[in-house]
Amino acid sequence: MVEFVDIALLVLLGITAFSIIRQKNLFAAVMLAGIYSLLSAGLFVVMDAVDVAFTEAAVGAGISTILMLGTLALVGHSEHQPQHRPILPLFVVILTGAVLVYGTLDIPPFGDASNPAHHHVAPHYLEESEHEIGIPNVVTSVLASYRGYDTMGETTVIFAALVGVLLLLSLGPRPRRVFSNGRWITVAASEKDASEGGAEEAQEDTLQISPEEKTLGDTNG
């Protein structure tokens, strides 16, 4: 029964992932990505990783989808037809996949209790954590106590990401640079900026940016 659920979920995941590639409408692709996350959460339950499953369902299927939808509201939701045929990417992907499949031939069989992964510190956590930490959930005691520094590093990463997002989104509209008639010119973000005192600043910006961008353009062209 467990095998059946496992295979069914993996096949559904494969179908969902494949239809995400085929989907031209980004809104539908984001919804399919949410379904993909939810299916993988189901698979995690089958694999005994209940903590991972509810984190994936809440964060992967919930917050991630909301972030993507918020982005789509700002950038539009249609994808253009690619102009070139994807022969090189397809070749790279098939080659990488073949190498990885070759690598799996040495992986110990699935679900065997004598696999090396189960023999280092895992038995210690399973045997001692109830006395040492006093929490029945081993995942919680490892996450919050034995590997507490990992979790602290994780919060540092989240803080850095938060600062990055805030800096990127709080800058407001900036002047746009357009290449026309062989040189770079700066187009003010809005007409209001250009007319009210911002004109001089925009002009300075043009003068500062033009030379370096010009050389960049020259080397590229």
């Binding site: 992932a17 005994d48 679900g111 995942v139 590997r147």
Partner: protein, 117 residues
């Protein structure tokens, strides 16, 4: 469950390659981030698969259960961290996409290249 052999790993590789293909072959930046998420989730499945023990149960102590087999909790802990970090990085990626849309007026890779040449 040993009958499954390597099927899980191969399914993981298929998902991984689907995500990788989306990442390198598609020009739309939002589509690239979706591909990156597919890739990420396939790595999560790989780790969780390695932690599973046949006939085991979730690593939460059962009252009075002496001979209960628990699955390996370490991959679960690692992946819990990875899920949250993954969402943080895709948030940064998506806000970069919004800035690119403001600066270039498009999120298609080839059009951005045409404009900046």
């Amino acid at each position: 469950m040993t009958a499954l052999g390597l099927f899980n790993y191969w399914a993981v590789i298929f998902l991984m390659m689907v995500g990788f293909y989306t990442l390198i072959a598609r020009g739309n930046l939002v589509k690239k981030i979706i591909g990156l998420n597919i890739f990420q989730t396939s790595v999560f499945i790989l780790y969780i698969t390695m932690g599973k023990i046949t006939g085991g149960t979730a690593p939460i102590f059962v009252e009075g259960g002496e001979d209960v087999i628990y699955s390996n909790p370490i991959p679960h802990v690692l992946i819990l961290t990875a899920i949250v970090v993954g969402v943080a990085t895709s948030a940064v990626g998506l806000s970069l996409v919004i800035r690119i849309k403001e600066a270039f007026g498009t999120i298609e890779e080839d059009e951005i290249q045409d404009e900046s040449l």
